[in-house]
Symmetry: C2
Subunit: 324 residues, 2 copies
């Protein structure tokens, strides 16, 4: 492949939001880590909720999850702004009247689960813009069952069900393979006793490929199983669930009765943690994202931050750009 | 009433968001007014979606509508941040463990309709915080019918149905009287032919009183009828629907087939417009809010902006503070 074409298909990733549900700081929280953010301590950066934008051609972008903060994230990311109107840059006007006044570089959205922090941003993509929504049948059903999402005009917005291991060719230089990972149903769909760590339609990882790079994105994962090891091994980049540092982090702070496991996430530290699970694998770059407001890795120079960095991990931040 | 107490019950309003649905600039729009914002032209200010915060005691705040941008709006408004934890400022810890690490000055949310730009922000008020949601039965039913709103834990979040003309005493120095205004059902609930301008449960105005001030807030209104005139007459402050300047603004720009009327809003200008409707009334301050991204009053010095200013109106902006 000629160099020009190869450069043109460079995989670019922008971390739109690196925090877990609620963001950092969380609106109603004064835990020690949130406190630093409210005090504008220079060791921490505020973070919006979990989402990535990826492109291979620099023109067509795919969102991996649509967080409630999506409008703000688009405003902060000039690559996602609508192109200037007029035939000079956009070709002839579509309807002879608008001069292409409506446009977005966002071509599609991949949903890894149905949690509010990953789907509510769809409500910010209204206003008759054409794009595709990809998710498991379970996630798409949930959106269909909630009438508020009807603001996405079905004559513009198409949906496509993802299946375990079946690759999607986005047509714009990106191929995306979803795979089921251990998780749980979204909080708002919980009824009675909740099964945690099952592998099924509730929670996905995404493997993203161009001709020259392979990235794996798993923002929620209850356990690293054989499939997760197989998919991540040899990847150029892994963006992984960094929700909590310890499993009982929120319980010990008196903020919740729920462990990370109960929320469908594995902790970073400990025997069952992700640091240990990925220690032996050959992965180009390892980045924690979807970081909860209580997680001390958010604090530069903290023992926990130093521990993950010493193990070769980076900590994602909003606006982080990665090119492969 | 002693001066100290009187000062303590001063009505304070912060405009959290002054734009209509989609915000300004809108994520996929390059209309002439959005263009200025994307170009960072100094005649315009970016604006988030429609919401106000009001308080009488400075400690307990009520949101009038909860926009999709609410998380960002809270981050931008220090009066709405959680109070520092610990007994010294907050009294004894609730559970002996948390040291009151969770807190919010937000005591309640009044919804004027069920549109996405007014209700989606409820999804940002999750995380087991106690507050009240006030809306008509129709609006509350809509929220109940959408399972995604179950992230608001019903053991913490209470709902209360509003009725036409029946005052709510918030217990914190604010009394709020909802009244039906001409409108339409939310976009996502439209089915078949849509009735516009009817007076019923779909659309509310709110009259907010302290012992010393009276404010009327009507962010959506299809027509000024006798009831609207009666409620606004003599008010210290009116915040009114400034969605579009002309009724066919979006049609002429080729952005939509819909007039302002079709969206349940009256234009500012024209025979049937709000400038004319309120011209003779005795109102202390008149402020346009819920301003669509296409509305030229967003541009400082534009003929339309000068026209509304000449008629005694102000144009709301995010962070605008009013004390009465």
């Amino acid at each position: 492949m000629p160099l020009a074409e190869r450069l043109a298909t460079k995989l670019k990733i922008v971390v739109l939001g690196s925090a877990a549900g609620g963001g950092y700081p969380q609106w109603n929280c004064r835990c020690p880590v949130c406190d630093l953010a409210w005090q504008r301590d220079r060791r921490v950066l505020a973070r919006t909720q979990s989402s990535l934008a990826v492109t291979a051609d620099g023109a067509h972008w795919f969102l991996l999850n649509a967080s409630p903060d999506l409008r703000q994230q688009i405003q902060n990311t000039s690559a996602l702004w609508p192109a200037t109107n007029g035939p000079a840059t956009n070709g002839p006007a579509g309807n002879g009247q608008s001069g292409n006044r409506r446009h977005s570089p966002v071509s599609g959205v991949f949903l890894t689960n149905g949690d509010v922090d990953h789907v509510a941003g769809l409500l910010s993509l209204r206003e008759r813009q054409a794009f595709s929504v990809f998710g498991t049948s379970a996630t798409l059903k949930l959106i269909e069952a909630n009438s508020i999402f009807r603001v996405l005009d079905p004559t513009c917005v198409s949906t496509r069900a993802l299946q375990d291991g079946i690759e999607i060719d986005t047509q714009f230089g990106l191929r995306v393979t979803p795979f089921f990972v251990p998780g749980k149903v979204p909080l708002h769909e919980e009824t009675g006793s909740v099964s945690i760590g099952g592998v099924g339609e509730s929670t996905l990882g995404l493997e993203i490929r161009t001709a020259y790079a392979r990235v794996v994105y798993i923002p929620g994962c209850a356990k690293v199983n054989e499939e997760v090891l197989r998919r991540t091994s040899g990847a150029d980049l892994l963006l992984f669930d960094g929700t909590t540092f310890t499993d009982d982090e929120m319980v010990r702070l008196g903020l919740s009765q729920k462990t990370a496991w109960r929320m469908g996430h594995m902790a970073i530290s400990g025997e069952e943690g992700s640091l240990r699970a990925f220690a032996g694998l050959d992965i180009g770059r390892k980045v924690y994202t979807h970081i909860n407001n209580t997680n001390p890795i958010l604090v530069e120079g903290s023992p926990e931050r130093l521990a993950v960095e010493a193990a070769g991990w980076e900590v994602a931040f909003d606006g982080m750009e990665i090119a492969l």
